[in-house]
Symmetry: C2
Subunit: 396 residues, 2 copies
């Protein structure tokens, strides 16, 4: 019988995708008079992968044994690849990973699917902070865990520790964080992470069980103002770092990332071996051998990410000039201003009249805000500023 569970999910439409489709329809409504639509809905990298990525791939395809390049990866990933990924993390973040602490995955989504199952059982609770990436719900639900959220710290999108203290009950086995953050663009400070680690250790003692930190960090390399993102795992031993090369190397379609288990947790070898077991049950297996071999040699590089910072500054300055309240992003290619009216859906609908596609943050569990995904051409951002001005000045 056809699954009622997954059938029922078909009616839940993605607001982001619907807006993006509406933008495409608006642009093509009258082919004789094409309209420029400023589509700030989708979080797709707008800069190509560094040339060296394609060169590495072509080199592997031309010069390596095809039985190696296209052959089965061992179920825990290719050992030489794991060692290079570990060495890169150690070099850049002062960590102490061995290759056996790394489990290559199909992007961060694949890493999260393993992380959740590693440290929970059905009935446990996974806690995250609003605002959050709306896929987290559908990612967690099939694990049989409860998915709960801590209210946002809207002052600066760090952590509201009072709210966390209330929300972190004994049924919570894992805390899911995302820094730099989609949708807010906020980056947790060292102080925030230190305080979080101290708090988790206290609660572990109090509850008499481990609490794991699952750190979703695909935006780790997109950081502004010449800063570097504090490396979450260096603050808390029981951290599962879920990484993707989708954003840093602009390879979202290649589905390549990894789960890195902090060896300081004392059981990283076992956890990575357990990932191999989890994979069997969810049809994951390993990511592409070719992509594993490629990122092993390009993991210290990034695409030219400077466009995101340029766009952020243009939008931040223009929108704050218009009187919008915005926590200035520390990284990513998102920002999340407060709407000048309480109903963010109404705000978003009005924006469409000015050819601006802005996502209401109800979908990120923070009504009253909207998200701008500014992964787009800077010239287009500049042209959009006038639309923003007309929109805000006319409607508010």
């Amino acid at each position: 019988m056809i699954s009622e569970t997954f059938k029922a999910m078909l009616s839940g439409k993605s607001v982001i995708r619907e807006l993006s489709e509406q933008a495409a329809r608006m642009a093509n409504a009258d082919p004789a008079h094409p309209v420029e639509i400023f589509d700030y809905s989708l979080g797709n990298p707008s800069v190509p992968a560094p040339a060296v990525v394609n060169e590495k791939m072509i080199d592997l395809l031309r010069n390596e044994d095809p039985m190696l390049v296209h052959g089965y990866s061992p179920s825990l990933g290719i050992p030489s690849v794991k060692e290079k990924l570990a060495a890169s993390l150690n070099r850049r973040f002062g960590m102490n990973y061995k290759g056996t602490d790394i489990f290559p995955t199909s992007g961060a989504a694949g890493a999260l699917a393993h992380a959740f199952r590693l440290v929970t059982k059905p009935g446990d609770t996974i806690l995250t902070f609003a605002p959050y990436f709306p896929e987290y719900g559908p990612y967690v639900i099939p694990t049989g865990c409860q998915f709960k959220t801590v209210p946002a710290d809207t002052k600066n999108f760090q952590i509201n520790f009072d709210a966390l203290e209330e929300a972190l009950t004994p049924d919570v086995m894992a805390l899911l964080i995302n820094t730099p953050n989609n949708p807010s663009g906020a980056m947790y400070s060292e102080e925030t992470l230190r305080q979080l680690a101290e708090f988790l250790l206290l609660r572990e003692k109090e509850f008499g069980h481990e609490i794991w930190l699952i750190s979703d960090e695909p935006y780790r390399e997109i950081v502004f103002d010449g800063k570097k993102a504090p490396y979450v795992s260096s603050f808390y031993a029981r951290t599962l770092s879920c990484y993707s090369f989708s954003k840093s190397l602009s390879l979202p379609g290649e589905r390549i990332g990894y789960l890195a288990v902090n060896p300081a947790c004392g059981c990283s070898d076992m956890l990575v071996q357990m990932c191999g077991q989890i994979s069997r049950g969810i049809g994951h297996n390993c990511p592409s051998s070719l992509m594993q071999l490629t990122v092993a040699d390009t993991c210290d590089l990034t695409s030219d990410l400077s466009v995101y910072e340029t766009n952020m500054n243009l939008l931040y300055d223009a929108l704050t000039d218009l009187g919008l309240e915005i926590v200035r992003p520390g990284g990513t290619f998102y920002m999340m201003p407060k709407c000048p009216e309480a109903d963010s859906n109404a705000f978003s609908r009005k924006a469409l009249k000015y050819n601006l596609v802005l996502v209401p943050c109800d979908t990120f569990a923070l009504p009253g805000y909207f998200r701008i995904a500014y992964c787009t051409d800077t010239e287009k951002v500049i042209r959009s500023l006038d639309a923003f001005r007309r929109f805000i000045k006319t409607e508010y």
Copy 2:
């Protein structure tokens, strides 16, 4: 807390992998005197991908927009790719697929993970036939379904319909078949498939619910004696065909395949859309965009698969001459002779003394048989024949 379920799975070792590791140790035991080990344990393609696959990949990397080649695939797969895959199936098997009936997956394992979840709920039963690929158990268990088996038809490894009649109880929602078969090499005849379809339709009426046929067919293109594998889905409308390019194009490491839903089932569009929902919960997303684009243009080709038939004939003739009972394979790169003693583990241990690595079929739910994976060089197969002769003549 660390998952007890997946921790417990660590103690269950793969007999095949252990044998393969033992083979490697034997070969390297004395570096001064290397020994030739005839490792027939692993089912890895032994011929490279056709040159045109790498050429296509290099062409895409050199000449296509990197934002397309490395960009996110739509969650149901790249439409142009789906249309080409459908057209290929229609051309070759007289089917009537549209692109929207095809869901690209990370190999057949990814396709099976979706197929199981599409047509069952926890507590239902998925039925398969002995002998079967030992990963089926770990694939099914996390869906919450029962996994049951029908005893083998050891006469010719078609279907024992008397046994099926007994095993197909009202709790069975899906029947999982694998033709051509790993480990037996048998290929279901048209007559078998016709009889199976008739039987399923009868039982559907009797039980008042649908019974889905999940067809795992990664060996569909490796068929001997100039024949073509009957296309399972053409016999039964409610068929979910799970395909992988791992064997036909020798791309096991690239994790590329698809799920094809027969449109005659009447709800193929919906089922493919449901796959998009299932994906979210198991961390699957889409397979690599580059690989989707590559197989779209190479799906009518295969590697040079003739070596498998050459090897099969050499081994079949030599082993039957030695008095072993074997059902002659119709395809794949496996065969499954009967052991000349009841204890197939003892048989396999004795074979090691003659440098022959043979997998006892207890692991495939058919004790008393052993599997030969003859995906290897023909010259090596020829050299192994003398070892087989000495082994069988000395020990039996």
